[in-house]
Amino acid sequence: MTGPVRILLWCAGLALAACLVTYPLYANGYYLALGISVLYFTILATAWAMFSGPTRYISLATVAFFGLGAYTAAVLGETMPWPVVLLAAAGVGALTAAITGLSTLRLSGIYFVIFSFGLAELIRQLVIWYEVNIHKSVGRYLFSAVTQDVLYWQLLGLTAVVFLVGWMLGRSRYGLALRAIGADETAASHSGIDATRIKLGVFILSATFMAVTGAVMAPRWTYIDPAIAFNPTISFQVVIMALLGGAGSLFGPVLGVIPLVLLFEVLTATLPNHFSIVLGVIFVFIVMVLPNGVIGLFGAGRWRVPAGGPAAAPARAGDAPLLAVDGVSKSFSGLRAVDGVSFTVTPGEIIGIIGPNGSGKTTLLNTLSGALRPSSGTIRLGGIVLNGMRAHQIARLGLARTFQLVRVMPDLTVAENVAAAQLFSTTNGSGATASELLDLVGLGKLQETPASDLTYIDQKRLELARALALQPRLVLLDEWLAGLNPSELETGIALIAKLRDRGLTIIMVEHVMDAIRALCSHCIVMNAGSVIARGAPEAVLSDPKVVAAYLGGDDA
């Protein structure tokens, strides 16, 4: 951007800000009320999109937090100073979000929608019950000295805060982490991202804004009852507005708020009886025609995190086993998929795990990486017991993996996929940067490509780069070579050999025996959940038990 343009933009921004701040001075009652509506929906929709945009957890609970804030103001408004009331509302919203989030955010998307769908109803019923049985009257009057002008300025201030926080969140590592979770939660966890905690944190943040908005808005009504404070239409309107504008970006929702607030205003004035029919038709229209919102029409970019930072430290050499697996079993109700498997891995070696399909190889890897919890046995990585740890904790300890069915984060670029794995890295070695890693796997030229556009082998390469970005001590490759054509296979084998030469320790599950022979110093053969042979590849592959397991024995 050139100097004069920048100055012009700043001037325009300042002028806009001045207009917004002085608006109550020249707008009359009706237009001031309209301004208030635009502002409070802007805060609600932006706060909604802060959580629901990147994670795609469609929350219909906006009004639950909004209403709680309004009720907090109604209860405390006449006895406490106003800032304390706002703080209390923020606290109530955050606490409720924390409790409900803790119990539900680990559930997958669809359950969350339904949960939030009922949360507002549930809280409304509880408030009504409390008011009827304990307070002995359903409505409350709130007389306060807050004029419409002051209310407007409070909302304007809150709007500024919500945008500032949203902007900082988007720039911080939590912003990218949140998008990684939205793209593929499993892959994100295995990249060291604590999905549950980050989702919970942002959910609480978003709910806090909603609750404070409710408190700020409370004096506007004078009389508050649960039907007003917990009016479910608000939740729905917020969702449509954010979706119309585009929930994927910070300034998207406001683009939906302005036209829809004006439209609703016109509708309530001209067609009060048909309001909800028109609302519904608009909703259907937006989802059918504008899936990415208005902002999607302009192709507005999201926050791009610059690829960079250190990555991939070579493994520390040493004689002590890096990984010690001792008597690990995993049962699914009756089926023992992994049965008493023990082995150790010394630093710098490549271990191959082979065996027929269904012999428990991937299940074993899943127990190592924390995707599954072993039913019994212990797993130690450099002396630390991994049993019971969650995937992101194991990833942060330096155990990275790829998946048999390749999992990239489709909406993120190639560089962002790798950057996501570096977000919460605890080791700050001076290894390769993200772009060096991508060069290493041969994706150097595709850094800005969305991961979903990559070919199958490139997605596999990306997964490997992402695993390496964790600066792992140990990498688990789950059939990383499967499905490659002969020349790709050669490149792939060479790449793994190169990683070994850099000192990386690798466990590979593989059906490509040429690769096992070429790369592995040691092999484990599994059949029906147990280890049936172990040793050097050549010896193991000629073992009659192994041949029988693959081809079927005479007596099998």
Partner: protein
């Protein structure tokens, strides 16, 4: 006797819930549409039965013969005109679910708005077969028993159709894996539409039967959607027997809470039960363990 007072009406209510949930599980499990306008369809059917009874003196049971085909056609059109497009557009099941939730949300408002225009916000009920009957010291209206009987008949017929016929088997195959079903020559699009329409027909049955003994208004559809969802999730998605048990359980728990604690807390009880099941067994009471 208090226990019978709770159990009997609880079972009647629960039977209704199970029937309603059965329709939703067809729509969600097979057609992969999380239909949030489901409860509105139910209330619309209730209003239909009310109008036919009040206007033409048609008995609700006869009204079923009209309501079910109409509901099926309307649901089929909804699927063909709107939802199928979303199914094709969605990249994965998650995206499809979210899109379908959002669109049916819009449909919810359209139906609700139309009912508000036609009937206003007040509560309606009519008196049909409201003859008291005493069973084991507990009084129950005949219409409730008739409703329960019909729900059992319809539910049983659907269960048999799903498990004993070719089309039913194909429909269940789609519920398990739509892509695999396509590979073995099942016309997934057509059968999904059919299952969706069938689900719509079932909810019409539920609406007509419920109108015989409950008061209803234009705004209460959401509550029925909620309860049907709770039943499905508790029972395990796509699990007919699970829906039956969860429905009955919900009916009894609600009646017990209304009777023993406070009628205003029934939804809270539903919700607590739902949350409890989700937290302890996320795949439902009878769901398979997630892999």
């Amino acid at each position: 006797m208090l226990l019978v007072d709770i159990i009997l009406p609880g079972l009647v209510l629960g039977g209704m819930y199970a029937l309603i949930a059965l329709g939703l599980t067809l729509q969600y499990g097979v057609a992969r549409i999380m239909n949030l306008s489901y409860g509105e369809s139910l209330v619309a059917a209730a209003f239909g039965a009310f109008s036919l009874y009040g206007g033409l003196g048609l008995s609700p049971l006869a009204a079923l013969l009209l309501a079910v085909p109409v509901a099926m056609v309307l649901n089929w059109l909804l699927y063909r005109l709107l939802l199928e497009r979303l199914m094709r557009r969605g990249k994965d099941r998650g995206a499809q679910e979210i899109d379908s939730i959002l669109v049916t949300f819009g449909v919810l408002f359209v139906i609700q708005g139309a009912m508000l225009v036609a009937f206003g916000g007040q509560y309606y009920s009519y008196s049909y077969l409201s003859i008291p009957l005493t069973i084991m010291g507990s009084t129950l209206a005949v219409n409730r028993l008739v409703a329960l009987l019909f729900a059992a008949l319809v539910g049983g017929a659907v269960y048999l159709a799903l498990t004993r016929t070719r089309i039913g088997t194909a429909v269940r195959a789609i519920a398990v894996d739509a892509n695999a079903a396509r590979l073995v020559g099942i016309d997934v699009a057509a059968l999904s539409g059919l299952a969706f329409a069938f689900g719509g027909g079932l909810v019409a049955v539920g609406g007509v039967l419920i109108s015989m003994f409950l008061t209803f208004n234009a705004a209460m559809g959401v509550v029925f959607t909620m309860k049907a969802l709770v039943v499905i999730i508790m029972g395990g998605v796509g699990n007919v027997i699970g829906a039956l048990v969860a429905g009955l359980l919900l009916g009894v728990v609600e009646t017990a809470v209304a009777r023993l604690v406070d009628p205003g807390l029934t939804l809270a009880a539903t919700y607590a039960l739902f949350l409890g099941v989700l937290v302890i067994k996320p795949t439902g009471l009878f769901g398979r363990a997630a892999s």
